[in-house]
């Protein structure tokens, strides 16, 4: 299975994603330069974290018009899996691959910390390796992570099981205390209607080794491997 990792000017987690795929999963990965109209036969596309185009205008607003995004959108339309992490989530929202938008953290502070999220839907391409309700710890590192959408959209994604991860407190509850950025309904990650495009602010690719704090991100990559290869 081949993972294509898009490198935008300002991406800084593309290498982490590459190592996650190659070292932790033992699968093939290629970097996809944002200017090329070519996914190089990738089965899965990863939109990595970073600060594409310096977050100018809005996070993800300019990257969404990079040439490669045309192919990424086509891939998504065909049902191909797309994993948007952090800036990748912002880009996916700007591109209309996912609903809503990511706004400045309520605290106005950049937050870089391991945080707890709860798996709200373990029946997706990306989460089948987890259990429903499982509390996992993943790092976040962002200044613009406050997921926002109108109430009708929030009701729709919630009602259809498309909230995949929620920020939770120490007791595993989705409270304000457990919400690091003021995200609507404590949303940390959502999936599209087709179930093939996920966007999440936490970084599973940085949580693959207990020596580095957590290996809770591994199951996400293994889930994709199990389902896409099947």
């Amino acid at each position: 299975m081949k993972f294509g990792i898009v490198t935008f000017p300002g991406s800084n987690c593309d290498y982490d994603a590459y190592r996650a795929v190659v070292d932790s999963l033992g699968e093939a990965a290629v970097y996809l330069w944002h200017k090329n109209h070519d996914l190089q036969g990738s089965d899965v596309v990863i939109l990595p974290g970073g600060f594409s185009y310096g977050d100018y205008l809005r996070a993800g607003a300019i990257a969404r018009f990079s040439p490669v995004m045309h192919e990424v959108a086509e891939h998504a339309r065909r049902g191909g899996p797309v994993l948007g992490i952090c800036n990748g989530f912002q880009i996916a929202c700007e591109a209309g691959l996912l609903p809503g938008a990511l706004l400045r953290n309520e605290s106005l502070r950049f937050v870089s910390a391991p945080i707890a999220v709860r798996v709200e839907n373990a029946n997706t391409l990306f989460t089948s390796g987890y259990a429903d309700g499982q509390r996992i710890v993943l790092p976040i590192a962002h200044g613009d992570g406050r997921f926002t959408a109108d109430d009708a959209t929030l009701d729709e994604i919630e009602g259809s099981g498309r909230i995949v991860f929620r920020y939770v407190d120490d007791a595993g509850e989705a409270t304000a205390a457990g919400n690091p950025n003021g995200s609507s309904r404590n949303i940390a990650g959502i999936i599209n209607d087709g179930g093939n495009v996920i966007g999440m602010m936490p970084h599973p690719e940085r949580a693959l080794d207990r020596l580095l704090g957590s290996d809770d991100g591994l199951a996400l990559f293994e889930s994709m491997l199990a389902r896409v290869a099947a």
């Binding site: 205008l57 809005r58 607003a61 300019i62 018009f65 929202c93 700007e94 609903p99 809503g100 938008a101 706004l103 400045r104 953290n105 309520e106 605290s107 106005l108 406050r146 926002t148 959408a149 109108d150 003021g182």
Partner: protein, 85 residues
């Protein structure tokens, strides 16, 4: 074709939490402007564009706002009258 200068104000949608506006409001209060309320911080973009007339210039900028300059989910925009440069 004439070159027009068009300004556009982009502001966070009313009703959405605007922490930046709130922070500025708090700072203004502590600076001794107690009458200040409902502060919002947006951005102002100035564009020069060639167009047949002012209406066409504004239409063109509206398209730019809808596609790139403003986020339809979270922001509103207001286009100023286009002026020939």
């Amino acid at each position: 074709m004439t070159v027009f200068r068009v300004g556009v104000h982009i502001t966070p949608r009313r009703g959405l939490l605007d922490p930046q506006g709130k922070a500025v409001e708090g700072a203004l209060h502590s600076l001794g402007f107690p009458g200040v309320s409902d502060v919002h911080v947006g951005r102002y973009v100035v564009i020069e564009t060639r167009a047949a007339d002012a209406g066409a210039a504004a239409d063109s900028v509206r398209g730019m706002c809808e596609r790139l300059l403003a986020n339809p989910v979270t922001e509103d925009f207001e286009i100023e009258t286009a002026a020939p440069t």
